[in-house]
């Protein structure tokens, strides 16, 4: 087909198209959903157990705060990555969030070692959290995935990886709320391992899921 002919054909398809809101605005919409999910889990937990099981220490709050900030930044980066001409280094801020989160957990591990004389590496397995984070990540990530499909799949692997990181960061908070851990290193290895494995898998599969819309012309 000649280019001029294609131009004419595209002209016949033109309809009113509402511009997408800014990535920041879309992130806020997604956060309403993600925080609603967290609040629902917290309320259910409180109702079932009559009192919160987690005693929040400052370091615990820093860990969860870092996870939440990572989630927000990763979601914003994912939503920005589907906008042509947005910053190409959108992954930098979420990477700083992940580093802060890992550093807070590592520091808590050092404090565990000083207090208990062990890191508790072999004392706890955490498969329930793996399952809970996977399911929670799916629930939290589904609306984000839907929102991403309205954008341009310029870097699908990066976009889907960031979206998975956003969803799992929130799911991690939910897992930490519902199942307190005696040792920080358990969280770092099991939660961190789950996040790393799922984010890597999603990033590898990203181009299969986020594609350019059907390019055939009528």
């Amino acid at each position: 087909m000649k280019t001029d002919e294609l131009i004419d054909r595209l002209g016949r398809d033109v309809t009113v198209t509402r511009p997408l809101p800014t990535p920041g605005m879309r992130t806020a919409v997604w956060m309403v959903w993600a925080l609603s999910y967290l609040i629902l889990v917290a309320v259910m937990m409180f109702a079932v157990m009559s009192s919160a099981r987690v005693t929040p220490t400052p370091l615990y709050l820093v860990q969860q705060g870092a996870a939440l900030v990572t989630g927000i930044m990763a979601a914003r980066a994912a939503l920005a990555s589907v906008i042509p001409g947005a910053n190409d280094r959108v992954w930098v801020v979420p990477a700083i969030g992940v580093a802060t989160w890992a550093a807070a957990l590592s520091w808590a591990g050092v404090l565990d070692l000083q207090a208990s004389g062990t890191l508790g590496v072999t004392s706890q397995s955490d498969w329930p959290c793996v399952a809970s984070m996977t399911v929670g990540g799916l629930l939290v990530g589904a609306p984000l995935a839907w929102m991403l499909r309205r954008g341009a799949p310029l870097t699908p692997n990066l976009t889907v990886g960031l979206a998975a990181l956003a969803a799992l960061s929130v799911a991690n908070i939910e897992a930490c709320l519902t199942r307190p851990h005696a040792f920080a290193l358990t969280v770092l290895l099991w939660h961190g391992g789950t996040v790393a494995a799922i984010v890597t898998l999603c990033a590898i599969m990203g181009h299969r899921w986020l594609r350019w819309p059907d390019m055939t012309t009528r």
Binding site: M1, T3, L6, I7, L10, G11, R12, D13, V14, T15, V16, T17, R18, P19, L20, T22, V82, I83, P84, G85, A86, R150, G151, A152, L154, T155, W212, P213, M215, T217
Partner: protein
């Protein structure tokens, strides 16, 4: 672009005609080794992409960074596709088919009487003649011939089969005579 997002097809047409030469220039400058047809393929992909994701354009921002990002990524996609094809396909020259046994080689085989063949084709019924002309002489695909004639692909196949059989009979008769 903002007017195009509001459904103004005239503005959209003007925009597309304005950006096409720029896109073509961008593609040529970044992929100087591409042939004309490859450049046009990428230009068309970019135009389709612009159309598909026009909702991502923010009217408050300049158009060119948005457009350049699409061009850059579509060029990268085209480069990856080209590399994949290169890894799995071997381009060969149009070689003659030959066999070890000289008798089996048919390269010297030619039909002796083109006039008789032309007459035999003219003598075919119109449907069969049209099928032979389109599929065998003009070498169109079945789909293209079907689109041109309005005949179904099955009907074209049958007409061609019958035409070849008729031609064979007619030409064998000519040889004997």
């Amino acid at each position: 672009m903002a007017r195009a997002q509001q459904g103004d097809s005239n503005a959209y047409g003007t925009l597309r005609r304005a950006i096409t030469p720029r896109v073509r220039r961008l593609v040529r400058s970044r992929r100087g080794f591409l042939g004309d047809s490859d450049v046009e393929d990428v230009v068309q992909e970019v135009l389709l992409s612009v159309h598909a994701v026009r909702a991502t354009y923010d009217p408050a921002r300049p158009l060119m960074p948005w457009l350049s990002a699409i061009v850059r990524h579509r060029l990268a996609d085209a480069g990856r596709r080209h590399a994949r094809q290169g890894a799995h396909e071997i381009s060969v020259d149009d070689l003659d088919v030959t066999f070890q046994t000289p008798v089996a080689n048919s390269r010297e085989e030619t039909f002796g009487d083109p006039d008789a063949l032309a007459q035999a084709i003219q003598a075919l019924p119109p449907g069969q003649r049209q099928a032979v002309e389109l599929l065998k002489l003009r070498e169109l695909s079945l789909k293209e011939a079907s689109a041109l004639t309005g005949m179904s692909i099955g009907a074209l196949k049958i007409a061609t089969h019958r035409a070849i059989a008729s031609l064979r009979r007619a030409l064998q008769g000519t040889d004997k005579a």
